[in-house]
Symmetry: C2
Subunit: 352 residues, 2 copies
């Protein structure tokens, strides 16, 4: 046995693979052995069969400097958001979140009062979503703040919605509206820069409450899964929109082995978001497609459910499911058809 | 709304409370609302009632520079250990681990190959303990490596062992032996210092395989919970020994509202550990009481189970349970009686 020097190992930069490529490489040899494991890695949640309903499990890690900046994310909001993004993963399986564990690593820069603020937000979200905080770990870190949340929930076996069930001719539906959280982030970043260059200038965030709230204090889509349940609609596939509409649509296409066609004119964007996008010289549809953090749901339904949903303003049909051979397409307002990519659509630059 | 400056908040250093004090302060207002929550924070695992058996959930976070040093922890061992310490928490409830999620935050100092090494160890432990890796999160960090693992398991309702069930006159039992992991760490730290001052000197770790293995590649106590099950013994209380025997005994005493009496002469320490302790001029009993990371089990049994266990060398009776009014005591080899503290025992310095 010798002491290791990790620096001498072969080096392939993690960034060369990207998050999904890295996960695939690290987990490709994993075989599930327990009969109770219905679904392991590869959907919004793992699915276990240990009771009357399916049990759902998901986990998310938030790292300071990567996922949040405490210059403009109040700790209470951050605590709230850390629960919401996990509850959102349970919604994406058409389930109901019931329990969370929260682990925190914090450097000595953080006081007890700061962590109490964080937990105020965590408790607020747990109360709002009727979720029990049942455990965790609290430790020090060498620098910065890390929050790791795991969430548990359940869904009746007949109502579970995987990413993999979309069928040709199904309708693609989005809840709420998109792009706001990304623009809220751009606004906060801009005001931080102004504040840094002149701390006496008060940040001007007026008139943009909606985008700011969507970024700082998002909500999970529990109200929409409840409506779907009341309407007796079980989505054929579902995913939450954490990375932007196009990326999530491609996940459904890949998992379901289908093609996806999204129409630009159908994508729901709030008018205040339109205005803010103009201010930043950004295409609002680009913000919707690849901005992320909206925590709305993208799902597919059978055409027979169209009548139940068509008059509900909570839901917008943004496209439909095609045969895999037709690829994944974005139909622009001018009728031109483009390849849909994780970053938006091919030829986006020329199109703008 | 204004941009926050967290530095201006009131500051109580986290270190002034300690880990358990901090957790208590942060979670004191938490009320569990779901009927399925049998036990929330305050034991080795949370306990949920969602099936035929109780479901068990626990989570642990390992932070570079706080919980491990990559100068002497090979990444494969670290991955293995990150699973084992979580499986150990399930053992501590007398349960069987079935599933884990693993979240990793790594700085750009880490290559894909380095993370593959880590996952080799994770997979090895999952295979050994028949646990399915069902999810996780992989993200970048600003510095260092963080590993957050959550574990799920189950235990039949009649066999669950909480910290809180110890009764007066119960026997206190320890599995295996104690102190080795702590001495393994001292050895690795010493060799790191020597290596730093003169990199041409090869570390001398010979003859200390046992202590090194206990530190670098610990095992969870699944073999002991199986024996207990075969012997039809359900511990009246149980905890895993992650922080040292004295700290864990005090947890049982507090949770069970009893007193604890531990006899120095009974504490099991391996002879190679005795020798290594002498080399470091450390009291081996101190290493057992407050060293930690042995991941053995401490449990209490009714006296009626004494006959079943007395000849099994896997188990050592280290003391017994008293009325709370008698306090928590350490009976030294010379017959003197001392207060048991989380750090060992009162008057330890004079006693050494």
């Amino acid at each position: 046995m010798t002491l290791l020097n990790n620096e001498t190992m072969n080096m392939t930069p993690i960034s060369s693979l990207g998050e999904f490529g890295l996960i695939e490489k690290l987990t490709k040899d994993i075989k599930c052995k327990n009969k109770s494991t219905i679904k392991g890695i590869g959907d919004d949640c793992a699915v276990l069969d240990i009771g009357k309903d399916f049990s759902l499990i998901s986990t998310d890690m938030l790292v300071e400097g990567v996922h949040f900046d405490l210059a403009y994310s109040p700790l209470k909001h951050l605590g709230y958001k850390s629960i919401v993004v996990n509850v959102s993963d349970i919604c994406a399986m058409n389930g109901k979140a019931t329990h969370v564990t929260v682990s925190i690593a914090a450097s000595n820069r953080f006081s007890v009062e700061a962590l109490e603020e964080l937990y105020l937000g965590i408790n607020l979200a747990c109360t709002k979503y009727n979720v029990d905080l049942i455990g965790g770990d609290t430790t020090s870190s060498m620098s910065g703040l890390m929050i790791s949340v795991s969430v548990y929930g359940s869904v009746s076996k007949k109502n579970i919605a995987y990413r993999s069930g979309a069928k040709v001719n199904d309708l693609l539906v989005v809840t709420g509206d998109l792009g706001a959280a990304y623009l809220g982030l751009q606004l906060l970043k801009r005001e931080k820069e102004i504040f840094k260059s002149n701390p006496s200038v008060q940040p001007d965030l007026s008139g943009n409450d909606y985008s700011l709230q969507r970024q700082l204090k998002p909500e999970a889509a529990v109200k929409y899964t409840k409506i779907l349940n009341d309407l007796k609609i079980t989505p054929t596939s579902m995913i939450d929109i954490s990375d932007g509409l196009s990326s999530e649509a491609l996940h459904i296409a890949t998992s379901s082995k289908v093609g996806i066609r999204i129409h630009e004119e159908k994508i729901p964007v709030d008018y205040t978001v339109m205005n803010l996008a103009n201010e930043f010289n950004l295409n609002p549809i680009f913000c919707a497609l690849s901005g992320g953090e909206d925590y709305e749901l993208l799902f597919s339904i059978s055409q027979k459910d169209y009548e139940k949903i068509k008059k509900d303003p909570d839901f917008t049909i943004v496209g439909y499911v095609t045969d895999a051979s037709e690829g994944n397409k974005f139909v622009a307002n001018d009728g031109s058809v483009h390849d849909l990519t994780a970053q938006g659509w091919d030829g986006m630059k020329e199109h703008e």
